[in-house]
Amino acid sequence: MAFYVVQFLTGLASAAALFLVASGLSIIFGVTRIVNFAHGAFYMLGAYVAFTLTERFSGALGFWGGIVVAALVVAAVGVLVEMVLLRRIYHAPELFQLLATFGLTLMVEDLVVLIWGPDDLVGRRAPGFRGAIDFFGQNVPSYDLFLIALGPVVLGVLWLLFQRTRWGILVRAATQDRDMVAALGVNQKWLFTSVFALGVFLAALGGALQIPRDAVNHAMDLRVIVEVFVVVVIGGLGSIIGAFVAAVLVSELNAFGILIFPKISIILVFLVMAVVLIVRPWGLFGKPEAPARRTPGLTVNPWRPLTSNERLAAIAALIVAAALPFFAGNYALTVGSEIAIFVIFAASLHFLMSVGGLASFGHAAYFGLGAYGVALLAKLAGLPMIACLLLGPLLGLAGAAVFGFFAVQLSGVYFAMLTLAFAQIVWSIAFQWVSVTGGDNGILGVWPSSWAASPSHFYWLSLGIAALAVVILRIIVFSPFGFALRATRDSPLRSEAIGINGKRIQWTAFVIAGTVAGLAGALFAYLKGSVFPDNMGISLSVDALVMVLLGGVETVSGAVIGAIVYKALNIWLISKTDLSKLVLGAFVVLIVVAFPKGIVGTLETILYRRRKSTSSPSPILTSRIETAE
């Protein structure tokens, strides 16, 4: 019995940090409508800065001073980020906001390694809370008890802040209607900045308070942000009470899940989240979502199938690409195969994002499932390559069918958070279920049959499948189904009023995209000869998002160009620098702020303008990204 009580207390102690980060995320979202993906990065920064302050400056500040000053320092960094970056994108489509803050996360991950080194750092114990308390023969660290008490105290302070201060009232008013608050003469710039600072302070404090419990490392940002997303999805984005209750719930589920499913404890959290989503899609304490801002809005040139000239150009490009083996070496062909595979992967996500308006932040899950499907079929069942390539992607299909069903119940930022959480769940299953997946060691020795084994043959195979996949996806875009999907994206109200079952259409699109991604993963397994959990990791999901964005999210198949340019750059970049995440993150931020239409989108706009230059230019064509005023 005592053991379960101790387990319960450990869960409560973990909830404190989770609550601090989740409440910060909720407060920022409430006012600015930005889901700050970089919140985990601020949490991690809080821990690193607190480590330095408590180690180096403990004389001047003391331990507790170090913790608080660390949170303040990181909050100041947050203010800088808000003023330099976020102010430029408050009116941008939410996809761009998610991507920009994600780019920040990537940059911080490399910066942290650059400054503090790659090794885990073990911080000192908190003075006064070094020992443990004996509880019927079980030890409970006294610091845990401190954290357990801290959660409700912070909740109370926040409540007082929002109920009793003028600033808090303004924040609550802005949460309900920020335009009205601006119309009343409140300085919105200052309000947004201060809210962001508070949110970042809470996240950094959560991170700083972790140093006596856990080693500080450069992967803690993604771990916490995924848990926080689960917390806000369960508790309801924008609700501080919801963040508290859900943080406790998730932490307890984690604490006891380990006892029930020691290998895959995250399953229990997933099940609870699934139930909450079915019963209350907007979370336990959340309010039903206001209609999401339209993600498209940068261009209005209607989509057209290729003209016969454009079709000829595409075929010519394909022929040139197919001629590569006649003048390129094996390394170039392997790179070519990889690019072709990523064209398939990016095209599948692009279909979901541009046609469906569903920005998945965990698309790599289905890529990875396809890869594992092939590896398991080839290694366990010993099936030939053709059979594996046909059947392997079905695992991606199955995963997309299960997760997609839940994901399409939500839209916008909730959809993004949920898909990311699902991808992390799939990743941790691959990582933890060692007996089947081999865990971190992956599955090795997945080699193509002899007919496809040579680099040139494999290249032609990949190129052929890529061309086929892109053509099929384009046909679907212009099919009645594609139009129904666009209709659901453009106006859920109108599409429902003309008999379209939007959820079922979106679910079907999710399954199509997942299956095509699975196909890409299947080929990738044969290209590399192995599969690893990283084949479904977050960085791969981000790669796909960047390819789509680079090509142009509002084009029909800009992702093809995006994938080719990005993958070529990426392979070249990795050979040049160790700080690929820093460069990549900066690249993402730059595209979002300076180049939101992408390569193909920009070209199309130029052509469209030229075609229309006889008539007066439409004001709608001008970019809608504005700065916050």
Binding site: R294, P296, V300, N301, P302, W303, P305, I475, I476, F478, S479, P480, F481, G482, F483, A484, R486, A487, D490, S491, L493, R494, S495, E496, A497, I498, G499, I500, N501, I505, T508, S618, I620
Partner: protein
């Protein structure tokens, strides 16, 4: 007219939000080919009534039947399949598509081709879409991006979309709100003509009394969730209670009407 069959029958609709009674026992009938206006001050329950008929809101009690078939509790898309077209107070169209494609999507849905992954939509019901656009006077705009249309044109496009499933009943929530006076008259004349020709029942809400008195066969007056009057435009205009609550003394209307008659 009075021989036309009953199209829509609404019995005892009640809906409250917390302590606010949006509708209290609202009952009325609508015949095929009839144009029925639903008027009343803000907060009278017009929108709630519309959203119940359309399936967006489930009433606390009461029932709605379309040609004898119950629609209460059905989803909007199911009610649409039963033959109810709808336009919205704030237009809802597909801004990234062309005008023609907007209508084509509705036609494709009506033809139950939504899960067709292979055919080209460009060839789906193209002529039918063109015919509907001609009908509402939008034929010349067929290839324009919908996002570039002026507001009045969007209203006409919505009408074309609403007609795509050959509806028996049209629900129009403030069809002329935000339009210039001349556009209002044109749109309502068009609606009335189509309703007569195709024997479609029309229920609309409207704040412009010129439009209401000019184009409706019958008027329902709602106040605080209760029907307080029902009758021909003349009857409703003469109703003292309606004047007191909603219309005012109507001097302006009378004056303008007399002017128009003498001109």
């Amino acid at each position: 007219m009075s021989m036309a069959p009953t199209l829509l029958s609404v019995e005892g609709l009640t809906k409250s939000y917390g302590g606010v009674h949006a509708m209290r026992g609202v009952s009325f009938e609508l015949r095929a080919g009839e144009i029925l206006a639903l008027i009343g001050p803000n907060g009278a329950g017009k929108s709630t009534c519309f959203n119940v008929l359309n399936g967006q809101i489930i009433p606390d009690s009461g029932r709605v039947r379309l040609l004898g078939e119950e629609t209460t509790g059905k989803k909007p898309r199911a009610i649409w399949r039963m033959g109810v077209g709808r336009t919205f107070q704030i237009t809802a169209t597909f801004p990234t598509m062309t005008v023609r494609e907007n209508v084509q999507v509705a036609l494709v849905s009506h033809g139950r081709q939504l899960f067709n992954l292979w055919a080209s939509t460009a060839n789906q019901a193209r002529d039918e879409a063109g015919r509907l656009l001609d009908l509402v006077g939008m034929g010349a705009y067929a290839e324009r991006p919908c996002g570039e249309l002026a507001y009045g044109d969007l209203k006409r496009l919505e009408l074309a979309i609403a007609l795509a499933n050959q509806p028996k009943l049209l629900l129009m929530d403030e069809p002329t709100a935000g339009m210039a006076p001349r556009e209002r008259i044109e749109l309502m004349r068009l609606t009335a003509r189509i309703a007569r020709e195709q024997s479609i029942g029309v229920l609309f809400t409207e704040h412009d009394m010129d439009v209401v008195f000019e184009h409706s066969d019958r008027i329902l007056v709602l106040n605080r969730g209760t029907l307080i009057a029902e009758g021909s435009p003349q009857e409703v205009r003469g109703n003292a209670q309606v004047r007191a609550i909603y219309l005012g003394d109507g001097l302006l209307y009378d004056a303008r009407h007399r002017e128009g008659a003498s001109a």
